[in-house]
Symmetry: C2
Subunit: 756 residues, 2 copies
């Protein structure tokens, strides 16, 4: 078959010299065998793409630089020789790291072979694949037993699937370099059994709607596309025929294995993405899942164009990239909704794929080019070429992140996530569904950022990904006992019990409901949502506004959490700030001995560092972080307790960060409303030692009306000026006209809120 | 007199147009009054300097830009109008901030008048000075009573002195703009009484060797130079004639007011600076004191050149600038030795003065030009012009910070501070004298940096300078109860008692003694010093080495603390690391309840978060900080206790940072040696989620010999290689040849140490 490679190469390789060093070793194969020949590569790189790339090489700086780096990296790897150790370790260990490294190296070497047309790369890929073939055909299950679905090269099928997603691309690139016999060996002893192991042999992994399964589906489908194996392609698209899992069984993370029997790549697009492109597990896992979604979609687009994969579900794959990019802070880091490791950002290689694919297969949004410039690399394929040409032609524009409201749920009817942006302030408000097995019990929670720095943090996950010393780099038990619990989040916990009693089955049945989202007026942007099921009999309605007003240096955050209950409860609302306490307007005592706040549901992880009460109408806390001043002002009554807490109790292996919070505790209450304002103000310079605008500008905030229909909050500035914010707790469509008298003054507005 | 200004202006102003708008308002003064005329400005700006500057304007970018910024700043101030409120507040409060702002504004407006030759600036300075004159002549002592020496404009004489140091310059700049009558009013009602208040009326402030007094001396001397008042100049140089203070009295900080009767500017140069230019209180306070030292020296140089002030004490003022610049980390931030607020750096305006003065009056070190470029501003005077021209002419070179050993004490015989630099690692080793009233009880303490980030921290001070909410921005009580105590530092505390029992009188009598400092061999650099007086009867000899070896990724730190005692003691040696604990090789328990480690001497501020014991020859702790891995390996015996501590106990106002430490506790021991190695290794990326070289390369460290004369430590690499470091505990001059047999192997070397 190698002969036919040369024949087809003549058609698409314009550089005559590529023929020069080839003909000596041509196998003696009859020309009529050429009839079965398919053009390769075809999966991600295409024959035409390779032709176009070669024509542009040397004149497309970002592409050329990426290529040069990849070449240096792979040349160094080749010089070190091939290693395919017998699998042994968890992630973080040597064999894991080596096989992981190999999948990247194989994929890149394949690409280099195509673009540079240098056989040494093809030979390297072939040699390593043959070594894998030799090992794999007798390889038992991986010796580590912790996974619900053990792989063979890795401790979990997930990583085996990662491997195959990359290696299919390598195989595609050298497909025509190999003899038919070589291909048969690889396909029969390595690729097909490999695909079978992660699918047929591991239905609890494969036959689901879950990011793990997406990798599995893509792996099976991509090798199927390369091998032109319709059975594998169908297994990838629609799941394993006739297999249905126990709909009550659970995975390692506590998620249902398969509640409704859906499976396959298309179901994995259908289910987790909302019509707005929000991915139900949150941006960190979307980033992880994104690569197989997009790379398999590229393959399908190239090999099965009739599927119109990029138009599937109204083009949700490309919409999801836009959603993902909008779920980053000013530094491009993802908001750590649900299980998310902080620091992950759009500099991750999966986002290079996302940006390039979105640009090439989407509408050539010039904003994407500026992110590609920041990433400083492109895919070495057709889409990377398009981006490189766009940048070269000076088409890059800033990627403008504005406020955005993203629905959750397959039909966009299961709550959502709202992001409000105003100057340097970003508010992330979560009123979504459970978020599958990586979801946290944090209905109506929020986090607040200023210029990319966390002001009020979401804890993220309790895990140190790939750091072997910390539980093999896997989820730590504190992820369940702390990070997922409600008290770990900036929302209300009732009676020291997490939402849905921390039960995944229950949480998965429900979602919060949008009251309204309003971002038309840049100066007053509001997100409001309701949660009725986290605590049966207790409704929470949270309305959060970011308000610009000329009497305040920066936009302020107003937070109205209205709790309506038929029973008497204890309510806890923490604010996870960062930095140094500067001042309070209330008295507090600090205990000589630190005790945990409770004994379960996350409370066992909080030490109490201080306890206060306030006789003022407002309690105030000022702190300094990142050399900026912040003040939180909250409406309190004399029975409220103000607790300074710090994470870290019952943490026998130092798995948690020692971060502080101010926790407002309101006991023995039925319906009640928590109202809080957060100001960012001024700055401090350790170089000039000058403190600018270090005091709060809020004299008081006051609830002047609180009914089923409306909550009105008065903000009194220290300069004597008074503002009022009224939110419509129901009937907030623009058509509804509201008329209200408060303290002998009439207020009229349409729809959602009033501010003046 | 204004007429004469115009006459002299003709000589040095080349721009003819400056004459155009002037002559209308000339007062009718006889020419013969010109006889008494002195040329002004003369203090910092000089008449010749102004001429040179005007000739270069527009062609010296860094100068032009600085001038433009200052002009914009002052024009904005002038537009806002003049405010000189009745003094009322502590630092951080409004009246303090306003008068502080005024002194800068006056000085800058004066300079603008000279350089831009625009009368609006002179008028502004005059008007504000007249307002001050009107207020000052009836002004009582400042109402706030906390200071040992209250000012009038400010709560402490120190700030009044700051004011006069700047305002003398402003007065000098508009001297000839004023009528004699106006000058008489200002001098009689404002400047002379002002100078008298901070000196004659406040000898406890003025008549000392202390950074406060330096400001006082400079203030009196500078106004004296402008007014041509020999009495004031002499009072500045030599102190108040005939005044001697109670040599037992103390100031607010616990320092002696005046132990030996020395006073005046020259004594203040003589005493605190070692011949190497190390300032006894440390770099943070040197930075603060630097401005009056240098600006008064400039004035003396210009007006009293016969004093040869820059050659005084072998040119120590200029040497001190070099020392100060070398006491910064990779980001230009000062090592926080003694009381020092972190973040202060050579970007501070005092260092702009230092760099420009050092360049101009020193040997035009081109390395200084690169720092000036980073500072991105220059003084608007003769020295700033020289720097601007140097930069313009492309003469800037990198400022090369290498290892440096700085002696302490007026004669350089009172210990010192050693800084060892190797690649990105910086070790700061302190074996100095007490450091006056800002000194900490931290003999033989160290801190460790990597690329400008703290690895093993020195706590610094307990203060939030100028942040009014924190104790008025002044020293907090935790500065004494925590920050100054020995246990707050990375050195040995014996029997839970600070060095010298934390007594300033005792500590001030003694200093540590250098054993040796060796930095000739870049790969093995060693600092070694001895302390005999911190604990009578117990000697501490600490030897710290930074060693490059090809088997280690980065230079490692080796720390040998040899304690020799005649009594049985409890020893505590903490390591104040930062970041996330990853792994230990010893077992530890974490208590459910956190208790303070002790009840005094700083121990009351430490919570115990974990307690461990080790049966291995070494105890190891790995942690991650700034996405880098670190491992500490220390020689332990089974009776040693390993405590995880965290600062923050008994801290009722959250004045302390919640920082961790690993504390090695060795009880009931006489002589003993603590041996520790610290490795920086590898890195973690939250974007690629890959952990590189996350494990320690040290298998074991072992003390193979420990005698009066030698301590030998064997370092066993995980790759099987073995290295030995032998330090000469005495007789370490290069002339001495050492010969030693350990485990049947002979070692021979000359002088201080052996490594191979």
């Amino acid at each position: 078959m190698r002969f036919q490679v040369k024949i087809s190469a003549i058609f698409f390789i314009s550089i005559a010299s590529v023929m020069s060093c080839r003909n000596e070793n041509l196998p003696n194969i009859a020309l009529d065998e050429a009839q079965g020949l398919e053009e390769h590569p075809k999966l991600i790189l295409t024959a035409q793409g390779v032709k176009d790339i070669r024509a542009q090489l040397g004149s497309i700086p970002i592409f050329d630089n990426t290529l040069q780096k990849v070449k240096e990296e792979i040349d160094a790897e080749i010089a070190l020789g091939i290693e395919t150790p017998i699998p042994k370790d968890y992630s973080g260990g040597y064999t894991h790291a080596r096989h992981k490294r190999n999948w990247f190296v194989l994929q890149k070497a394949g690409v280099l072979y195509q673009i540079l047309d240098d056989e040494k790369y093809a030979k390297y890929v072939k040699d390593m694949l043959m070594q894998y073939e030799e090992m794999y055909k007798t390889l038992p299950l991986h010796p580590k037993t912790r996974s619900y679905a053990r792989g063979k090269l890795f401790w979990q099928c997930l990583n085996d699937s990662n491997w195959l997603v990359y290696v299919s691309q390598a195989y595609d690139c050298i497909y025509n370099y190999l003899t038919e016999e070589e291909r048969n060996i690889l396909e029969n002893n390595l690729f097909r059994p490999f695909a079978d192991h992660i699918s047929i042999d591991s239905p609890q992994f494969y036959q689901r709607v879950h990011n793990h399964s997406t990798w599995g589906n893509a792996a099976v489908g991509m090798i199927g596309l390369v091998m032109d194996d319709e059975e594998l392609i169908n297994r990838a698209l629609y799941g394993i025929k006739g297999v249905n899992l126990d709909n009550k069984a659970k995975d390692d993370d506590g998620g249902f294995l398969n509640k409704d029997g859906k499976a396959g790549f298309l179901a994995n697009i259908e289910e987790p993405f909302s019509p707005d492109g929000y991915y139900n597990e949150g941006p960190y896992y979307q980033r992880y899942a994104m690569y197989p979604f997009l790379v398999f979609a590229e393959g399908l687009h190239n090999v099965k164009p009739e599927l119109n994969i990029f138009e599937y579900k109204n083009g949700v794959l490309l919409k999801s990239i836009n959603a993902l990019l909008n779920l980053t802070d000013a530094d491009g880091e993802f908001f750590p909704l649900n299980d998310g490791q902080k620091g992950m950002s759009y500099y991750n290689s999966a986002l290079v794929t996302a940006v390039d694919v979105s640009y090439h297969y989407g509408d050539q949004n010039p904003g994407l080019l500026s992110i590609a410039k920041q990433q400083n690399q492109v895919l070495l394929d057709d889409s990377g070429l398009a981006v490189a040409l766009g940048i070269k032609n000076g088409e890059a524009q800033p990627f403008n992140k504005s406020s955005i409201n993203l629905s959750d749920g397959p039909d966009g009817t299961e709550g959502g996530v709202g992001v409000i942006r105003n100057e340097d302030i970003e508010l992330v408000f979560k009123y979504a569904a459970q978020g599958s097995s990586h979801g946290h019990y944090d209905k109506l929670s929020y986090s607040l950022y200023e210029n990319g720095e966390e002001v009020i943090q979401d804890y993220g996950l309790a895990r140190f990904v790939n750091i072997e010393q910390k539980g093999g780099g896997n989820y730590l038990k504190e992820n369940k006992t702390w990070a997922k619990q409600t008290i770990a989040h900036n929302t209300v916990t009732v009676d020291e019990t997490s939402h849905f009693e921390g039960k995944y089955e229950t949480g998965s049945k429900f979602h919060s409901v949008l009251n309204y989202f309003s971002s038309e007026n840049e100066k007053v942007q509001v997100a409001s949502a309701r949660e009725n099921n986290a605590y049966p009999g207790t409704e929470m309605l949270r309305t959060m506004a970011i308000i610009s007003d000329k009497d305040f240096e920066k936009p302020i955050t107003l937070d109205i959490m209205k709790v309506t209950s038929s029973s008497i409860n204890d309510y806890d609302l923490p604010h996870y700030f960062f930095g140094q306490v500067l001042e309070t307007n209330f008295e507090y005592q600090t205990p000589e001995t630190l005790l945990p706040l409770g004994n379960k549901n996350g409370y066992q992880h909080l030490f109490v560092e201080g306890t206060g009460k306030s006789n003022e109408v407002n309690s105030k806390l000022s702190w300094m972080d990142n050399y900026r001043f912040y003040t939180l002002t909250t409406v309190t009554n004399p029975k409220d307790e103000l607790l300074f807490t710090r994470i870290g109790a019952n943490d026998p292996e130092f798995n948690l960060r020692r971060d502080p919070a101010l926790l407002l505790r309101r006991k023995d209450s039925k319906s009640t409303t928590f109202v809080t304002a957060i100001e960012s103000h001024g700055s401090y310079s350790p170089v000039t030692e000058s403190a600018v605008n270090s005091k709060s500008s809020i004299k008081t905030i006051r609830v002047v009306l609180d009914s089923d229909a409306y909550t009105a909050v008065e903000i009194n500035h220290v300069n004597g000026k008074r503002k009022i914010f009224i939110t419509s707790n129901k009937n907030n469509s623009e058509k509804v006209k509201h008329k209200l008298n408060i303290d002998d003054k009439n207020y009229e507005w349409s729809g959602s809120y009033y501010f003046d």
